[in-house]
Symmetry: none
Subunit: 208 residues, 4 copies
DNA sequence: GATGAATGAGGTTTCATTCAT
DNA sequence: AATGAATGAAACCTCATTCAT
């Protein structure tokens, strides 16, 4: 993963192969779903023999798990980094919204898997990973909740609702609108300004 | 659906059987997911022979489709009814939030399926149904959007964002918090007041 | 198994099918060995679909286990019956030798499996059954040992060796000569008189 | 096998490697059986690459064949040597019993394979080797039979049974009791005196 | 009309064997 | 000459679907 340039040629080659396998798997899983993709298909798309897949992953579930968890890491790292800037609460939330939008834009296929897993809608796959990813999602939301909490404490935000609840609502509202755009970009163009959602949360809809 | 009491005894009996099959299927699908439930299991739980299932549904997918679409009808009917009261926009949205919360409370198993399908997270099942349910969901959201639009028109709401976008955001924020509560009711007790989410949308978080 | 004529037609039919599956399996396993027989082959030979085999047996090992244990039962029942006649020790051993010879003659294919399993030579198959059959064989040998022991007690036999050891030696000597005959009946015709082996054990080779 | 010290260094090195491969294979095959050992395992245990194994043996079966046949040679050589001493028949048989016992004690792993093969119980492996080893065993038994025959001719032994038959019975009785001891040494301690079996054969069980 | 036994296509997984390095 | 990564045939097993009873 890191220090890739210090690896032997052999090891670099292995990493490249692994990445190709995971890329093929991501494409297929996100298009057709875990159960509608056979390892045979993945092997073909990645241009390896089936047996070769099994040198890298113990079995189908293991491959899927590796795929989802690694992508989760990248996803959460990117967003966590965005909200760790030493800004005030409002600016942090803006960073969060922008980072998340960027991740959606740049890695659409994974987003589908991620939402399926993190939203518990994925009881379609064997339990376990499901639970793990959801837990990580919950933990991540704590970070957003902490921003709201801090904002409430120094009186920047009204004490209108539980901070965790606010985090969940904001996060989900973003997912939904981004998803809408993913599903039918022509019909539901994504708002030019990703901050729109925050404006609602911040200022409210009703004239004061 | 239609006037059940005008049917012959034979036809009424058929409808009853069908309902029992779908009830068993709903339970199993929502617990284990489409691909982890066999028709054999459903037949057993419904106390019919497999062959009998095939008298009512062409195949597994057809059974699933019927299940989801019919439940969708009931779900949407209930909520549509709530927002068709001759109230003002704010009250309509409150009715919507309450009706939806009530549906979540009363038909948890279906909600899981519904979210999986309507959120596009359900590419786990053969494509098609997916698309259909999502489309219906989009159409339903138009009704909510219409409320926002009307509110904006008569200046009750700020013209802060596209009404459809507002509908999506509100709907999704509700789903997420309700889902949170479904997944771990003890850890994330549902806010006593379902209106909380509306308060945020209406008044905003930042002190004016 | 018993009271077969009291079963329903359906149940009798099931038993018949099961027997046909086991018969095909016995033939193939005894000719080619556990690992060189595929369930596909067994299904073909028994003229059923593979899936049907799995309605009767959980998996390949289970099928094999059922086959071996049921045949063991029949084998041991037949021989146990022979030595339970109220004869003196010499006559009991003669009955034993004759009964065993008869079983070898009448169920050659099973004998091969049985020896493989009971002699511990069958580490080729997953452990477990192996151990179970061997244990049963040991237990059975106790019965023969008891005859020797009784004979020694009432002074019919010399106290030349541990009775269990005598049982093992006699049993094995029989197996070997019967096996010889099974392998190449034309080259090693089985001694006309199955009692020969007993004569050696009883009277010895060296002139007194 | 041949004069090893006349070989070039290169050739001696090769022989050493081959021996190591066969040693690893013997260990694994005798513990887990032919079909439960992969060439990969053997290569690892022997600390060679798989490809190297294929430089020495055409395929898995060939490796197994070489292993069994070479061990057979050593086994038969040792015992043949024991019975070629210029003793009388009784003494020769005593030598035979002792030599065989010694071989069992010193090369347990091979014994398991040998019995599996020579007893025809090993149809678990592709037919062929089976037959070959059994044939060699039969031929070897001729040597024991010859001793009995000679003993009968010069009237040392009663003419109670076919000499070959006697050889088979004695050989097998020994195997069984030795095997018993191998399987569960604590439960079935090997008779202190390996000659016990001969005493039975020579003097018989029944008081004259 | 209802049944559920029988089917067999298709999925996952292993491992003997090859061959480029 | 030695290596071991890559291969893919073939095994086991499941389950949606059919159809004779």
């Amino acid at each position: 993963m890191m220090n890739e340039h210090k690896l032997s040629r052999r090891e670099r080659e292995k990493l490249r192969q692994r990445r190709e396998m995971l890329a093929a798997a991501l494409d297929l899983f996100s298009q057709k779903g875990y159960h509608n993709v056979s390892l045979c298909e993945i092997a073909e798309k990645a241009e390896f023999a089936i047996g070769t897949l099994y040198k890298f992953f113990q079995n189908k579930e293991d491959l899927y798990r590796a795929l989802v968890l690694e992508q989760c890491d990248r996803f959460e790292d990117a967003i966590s980094h965005a909200i760790e800037q030493p800004d005030d609460e409002v600016e942090k939330l803006r960073n969060y919204v922008r980072a998340k939008t960027e991740r959606f834009r740049s890695n659409l296929p994974f987003i589908r898997l991620y939402l399926a897993e993190s939203r518990g809608a994925s009881f379609n796959i064997k339990a376990g990973l499901n639970e793990e990813v959801r837990q990580r999602h919950y933990n991540f939301l704590e970070k957003i909740a902490a921003i709201f909490e801090s904002g409430i404490k120094n009186n920047r935000f009204k004490n209108i609702a539980d901070p965790y609840y606010l985090a969940v609502a904001l996060d989900s509202a973003m997912d939904a609108s981004l998803l809408l755009w993913l599903d039918a970009p022509e019909r539901h163009p994504y708002p030019e300004d990703p901050d729109t959602i925050l404006d609602i949360f911040f200022k409210g809809l009703i004239h004061p």
